[in-house]
């Protein structure tokens, strides 16, 4: 057993996209009650790193481990503890916000409409609960996707640009949610360009081109 067996460890990960060496030996370690802020100029592989950490993308070299165990070997258990919000909100335009949440959160844990509505209310998307998501604005969709992360009650959050498309109140809300999650013993990995001034333990990882 590893000493730091409760955390997430990225060990010299290399990823090539065609001829491009996107991630050149990235190593980082992070633990619960901590937020990892991933930043860097465009095209330096922030999203790629997040995809590698989520297990969507297999690195050509290096490994990712969670609680001391390789995520490639314990993929399903690991992904069940994961909430990933990609840059695109991943909502079906023909389904209502509530249905969207029901079908994606429902695969992770048993849930009910009241709980999902509460999550939507918490992120300020309660008014859109019964609207098809294709009529929502980009900011509202972002709020719905945040509500999904919240409703999954996962211990690891992977958020790709959670501040995009949000107004000031929305940005404050994201910061608030992140702080609450980290304080409750969760782990959050956030890709963001702006400075995060959060009242919790923040570790920084800057990717360079």
């Amino acid at each position: 057993m590893n000493i730091a067996s409760d955390g997430l460890k990225v060990d010299t990960v290399h990823v090539w996209r065609g001829d491009r060496h996107v991630l050149q030996g990235v190593s980082v370690e992070t633990h619960p009650r901590e937020l990892l802020h991933i930043s860097g100029p465009n095209g330096t592989g922030k999203t790629t790193l997040l995809r590698v950490i989520s297990g969507l993308l297999r690195p050509e070299q290096g490994s990712v481990s969670w609680c001391g165990q390789s995520i490639a070997r314990h993929r399903l258990e690991y992904q069940a503890a994961l909430a990933y919000a990609a840059h695109e909100p991943a909502l079906k335009g023909d389904l209502t916000a509530l249905e969207n949440l029901h079908f994606s959160v429902g695969l992770k844990r048993r849930t009910n409409a009241a709980e999902l509505r509460a999550a939507l209310d918490r992120t300020g998307a309660g008014v859109c609960a019964d609207l098809p998501t294709r009529v929502l604005s980009a900011g509202q969709r972002r709020r719905v996707s945040l509500a999904r992360v919240l409703a999954m009650r996962a211990s690891v959050w992977l958020l790709d640009e959670p501040y995009a498309n949000l107004d000031t109140a929305g940005s404050d809300l994201v910061s608030e949610l992140l702080q609450a999650h980290v304080r409750d013993g969760g782990l959050a990995l956030v890709v963001a360009h702006r400075d995060l001034s959060l009242d919790c333990h923040v570790r920084r990882l800057e990717l360079k081109s």
């Binding site: 258990e77 994961l82 023909d94 429902g106």
Partner: protein, 226 residues
């Protein structure tokens, strides 16, 4: 509380059904295509019922295969485009369960609809009502098999911009046995001879794809998601 595989399976099927019924035009287009293509044949040929009857099983099956292909393209593509496929992959459920549920859900709305309207087409082509049962059962087996073949093709082509042409090129050669035995079964039912041989072949193909295609489709999907 974690969610079991069966629960996840039915949830994904329910999602597929609800999405299809929210977009009825997508559901109806392949059906209308099926009806139009098959009614064009009697109009284009000179009206000899005997000639039409000879060609009916082949026409029916070719039209059914082509119209099934129309809807296969969207099996994984829309989910891949809007990022829901990533969410499904990361759901903590086995991707194979999700692929099976999506394919079965797809067949339940497209394949079953095709089987249901086939008597109309059969009547238009002069197929006797005594052959309808065989025709419908063979179509049910054939469309399910085709959905599985299509799932592999759709999994391989989601990353491509004009993947639907390639999808046809991948799936149609594999669907040739279906055409041969499907049309053969219908033909034999029309002439009143035993259909057992052809139907057993169709059923065997169906079982073969039902058991192996889920794994192939999952592998294809995993490659393209990366």
């Amino acid at each position: 509380m974690s969610v079991g595989a069966w629960e996840a399976f039915f949830l994904v099927i329910l999602r597929e059904m609800r999405l299809s019924f929210r977009r009825p035009e997508q559901l109806l287009q392949p059906l209308v295509f099926f009806l139009i293509v098959t009614t064009l044949f009697p109009l284009g040929l000179n009206l000899q019922l005997s000639l039409l009857r000879d060609m009916a099983p082949g026409v029916l099956w070719v039209a059914a295969l082509l119209s099934s292909l129309l809807s296969l393209d969207s099996l994984f593509k829309s989910d891949a485009d809007d990022g829901t496929l990533e969410q499904l992959t990361l759901s903590g459920q086995s991707l194979t369960v999700i692929v099976v549920a999506k394919t079965v859900g797809h067949w339940l709305v497209t394949g079953v609809a095709l089987v249901v309207v086939s008597p109309i087409v059969g009547t238009a082509l002069g197929i006797p009502t005594s052959a309808f049962a065989t025709m419908m059962l063979s179509l049910a087996l054939g469309t399910l098999t085709l959905s599985w073949l299509g799932a592999i093709g759709a999994g391989l082509t989601i990353g491509l911009r004009r993947g639907n042409v390639l999808l046809s090129l991948i799936v149609l050669p594999l669907a040739m046995p279906l055409l041969i035995f499907g049309a053969g079964a219908t033909d034999r039912a029309m002439s009143g001879t035993s259909v057992a041989g052809a139907m057993y072949f169709l059923a065997a193909l169906c079982v073969f794809t039902c058991t192996l295609a889920p794994f192939a489709a999952t592998a294809a999907l995993r490659i393209t998601v990366e």
